[in-house]
Amino acid sequence: MKGVRIATAVLATSLALSAFVLAQTAPAPDIALPAGDTIRGKGIFEGKGNCQSCHRVNGIGSLYGPDLSAIGAAPRVAAPAGGRGGQAAPPPPSEPTPQQLAQSILDPNAVVSVQNRYIRLTMKDGKTIWGKILSVDTFAYQIFDSTEKLANISKTDVREATMTSPMPSYRDKLTTQELSDVVSYLMSLKGQ
């Protein structure tokens, strides 16, 4: 990735771009971004970046990856029941920062949320199946696979299971300016 400085690299279990609930508690990455152009960013998102092959914005794009229609807004969480024994209720989550969004584009496995976990299943017959995890029980995985189908996969048919994001890194695909433009576009997506 040209000209982007990342002061710290936070590695965790992998996930995709959206749902910054966990990201709220992680230290913001130190990524320097020039001013971004929202319209150019939309063009990259829909064109060169091929983001819609996995993501959906305002009803357009794939259902496979996280829906990004409100990625620039503060995530909605259930109202807290109140603090326990005099403790104050936790503050509501805030909007993501541009640096957090940039980190997810450069390193999709850095910060993940529970509801957007993905898995790669290497089957005993040699096939590979990717899917968003809906549930895992003792005997099977229930996933939404990359062909947008619901599938129940028996563990007896799986040779190897790896929880990892299918999203590629855009480190070598976007210039710093292009990255900033995409981030600007994403920050503009506030949902309805």
């Binding site: 996995c54 794939s62 259902l63 099977a140 939404f144 062909t147 947008e148 619901l150 590629p168």
Partner: protein
Amino acid sequence: MRVRLALAFILFAAGSLQAQVTFDRLLHADREPQNWLTYSGNVSGQRYSPLTQITPANVKNLELQWVWQAKSLEKFETTALVVDGILYTIQAPNNTNTADGYTQIVALDAATGRQFWTFRYDIPSTARACCGRVNRGVAILDNTLYMSTLNSHLIAVDARVGKLTWDTTVTDTPGYPMTHAPLVVKDKIIVGTAGGDGPIRGFLAAFDAKTGKEVWRFYPIPAPGEPGNETWAGESWKVGGAAIWNTGAYDPETNLTFWGTGNPAPDTNGNVRLGDNLYSDCVIALDADTGKLKWYYQFTPHDEMDYDSTQVPVLADIEFRGRMRKAMLWANRNGLMYVLDRTTGEFLQGKPFVKVNWMNGFDPKGRPIRVPGKVPVGSGGDGTPIMPTVLGGTNWYPPSFSPKTGLFYVSAWENSKSGGAPGQRGAANTTPMADTALAPNVKTEEEGYGVVRAFEAKTLEQKWEFKMNDITWAGVLSTASDVVFSGGREGYFFALDGKTGSLLWKAALGGQVNSGPMSYAVNGKQYIAVNAGTAMFVYALRQ
């Protein structure tokens, strides 16, 4: 990386196209017997499965495969859909009308019962139905599920991920809860409302499947100046009921959609609504594109026994008096079974399928000839019991027609009656409403019992019956291997020989069976599903 992404996109596109349930697939549901794509299995209302793996010889080897338990104490009246290995059912709100609740669409793996997703739709406590906060099922078109709600909404939910696509208010006037599975016709979703035991004016409406916008609305009770309004005295038409609360059928050859209408209101006091009360207690045939009425047949003119004609219309091509007819079969709540010509509404034949004493014949046009005195006492009745009971010789639960045996299978109540003087033996209406948990049955045979009966469609002659002790609120499923499935209030789920009615297999499910069974297959294995109590039970042959 870009190549891999491109391949994933191509695979995604192909997968999406395979998953789409086009209207053509719904019309030709018999071509994919492994699926159950509509409430009735097909648009003809037949509740017949073309699957043949389970036979009279091997049905005794049925084994429970999985159970899904609803988190609700409401009656489980839903018929699930199965589309390419995914089963969609509904968890109704809990059975209290005094608290908010929620209706939930559930997507399960049809082979294992494992849950993929749920979609929750909140229901306010003000959303009431007379007889339970039930929901009988979803409909599907393309990748979208459609559900009607107790608070009179029609919603569209993405079948792949369980997310709301649109939410349309069908009416914001209180008193119109919606409980039946919608019917998909071409690009429209058609729904009616319940509430006909109260002062409402029922209607049927069609909505654009993509946008949720209303396309047409039909009121079974005509307004002043419209034909039929003169059959309502004074202004009784304004609150005359005639709700439509069960799923209809569709004939692509005539582009007609058929629906049964409910009782006129008030149910048992006809003095305030003198006249035949059209089009209550009718089957109505509407142009599917415009909602215009093409023909009707009234089963019970000026009904005062609450004989809702809200049964599923069953369309069948049968030989009648030596020639093939495009027919409609109907086992009505009023205790009479009918054969109508579904292109014109012509009355072809009618006869009782249970004991009936409020009429004793038909005139040449099919109008029932009333027996004097057999009306409520307040309307001049003689005070003797009227048969069948106000809950009917049958009710909403679905019958089945097998094009293979030519038999029409009906769940019914025999010896049921309402009214009569206190103390008169057998006078009391001992036919209870449905519930979930089992309850003791102490009725004598004379006081009423349940049956599954099979009638030859072309003659309406009864061929056999399977007799139960207690009554039944269960529908019937028939299959191409001549096995018939049903259940009852005793909590048994059983398989009968479709040709003879002999009992082949049974299971005790521990709760009342209040649904119609259905069948599907996954990877070549046939399953039978039914709801009892608050759970869904799924069976297949022992491997």
